[in-house]
Homo-oligomer: 209 residues x 2
């Protein structure tokens, strides 16, 4: 199914049941900073940062990736929390130096281990939204040193799940989220939160009506 | 009228007549890169840059200001044309150094002469969206040197219309738009363009129906 066909299917979802936050109306309300149902992954990232006490206001947030479901809503959520926001992508000329400016760096491109330690300012918060299944032994050994548990797992199973952030980044980042087990569970949680929110709004409106 | 009341009025405008591009649906469609009616000032800036042959793809565009009607749609239009985009605002810690990274700098904050030459990388394109009526003699003399025609005009009329960009920027910028007479006329033109577009869509749909 192409992107156009996918969007036509999304467009048939009633705005008040749009728990993924993918409809034009949901997105427009987010831009106007009066969100109703917000895309789950970026909402989960904000939840995670806020619960960890990581300041957003006045910081420079750099988002790698400009998808409708992560990159763009992520940038808007940061902007509305008073971060200065930069959106990078495949056409950004010097990606590492742009990313090194970030106080908060979010990687959402789907390229295994793209973000290496030279992308990260010491002490920065790094959020890894990527989720890539690596099946190429060369890629696996670029990501993990000999003897690493993940490399052993790759060798026995023939594949391993990794993020967009190279594991070495742990040595420079002030805080970072693992893959799997980082942002992923938050996405599911925010989907349930949106479902609850939509259900409450429905009950509220039927009571009001 | 507060921002909330203003938005409630906007919300009553039918999406297919929303020639300002201010409705949640128009904004959402812009985010999803399938625009119908786009906010006129940022659309005018793109028109101006494209007609002047100023490359956007692969460049770093920095937007000062995050309003719904200029800053945010401007950032999205740049992003969809493959620029790396940064949005700055009143909470950006070191605004001049952030702006000095820009290949294309758009000022849309409404502060007379905010953008001084130390904000501008030599050769950068500077687009001034600000439109401020200066009535304070101290501000006027900070903006214009003794003997400048605008200062003489201020002294005779008691006010002068200036942008967000200090006139000195002309000495470092590769290209820049004046105020008045720069972006302003484009805004009006794009409003007429949107009106034509909306009328055509209406005729098209009545023919189709």
């Amino acid at each position: 199914m192409g992107a156009g066909a996918q969007q036509r299917v999304f467009d048939t979802i009633a705005a008040d049941k749009d728990v993924d936050g993918f409809s034009a109306e949901s997105v427009g309300l987010l831009v106007q900073n009066r969100p109703k149902l917000v895309a789950c992954t970026p909402a989960g990232v904000i939840e995670l940062l806020e619960r960890e006490g990581i300041a957003i206001a006045g910081r420079h947030a750099v988002v790698i990736g400009r998808s409708d479901i992560v990159g763009k809503p992520m940038a808007l959520l940061f902007l509305h929390r008073d971060a200065t926001v930069t959106i990078c992508h495949s056409r950004t000329p010097d990606l590492p130096s742009m990313c090194r400016q970030a106080d908060i760096l979010v990687a959402a491109v789907g390229k295994a281990g793209l973000v290496t330690r030279d992308f990260v300012k010491p002490g920065a918060t790094v959020v890894d939204v990527g989720m890539n299944r690596v099946t190429d032994p060369a890629v696996a050994s670029r990501l993990f040193p000999a003897g690493h548990a993940k490399l052993a797992s790759f060798q026995s199973k023939g594949s391993v799940l990794v993020g967009d952030v190279h594991p070495d980044v742990a040595e420079v980042a002030g805080a970072f989220t693992p893959v799997p087990g980082g942002v992923g569970p938050l996405t599911i949680t925010m989907l349930m939160m949106n479902t609850l929110r939509a259900a409450r709004a429905r009950v509220g409106s039927s009571v009001a009506g």
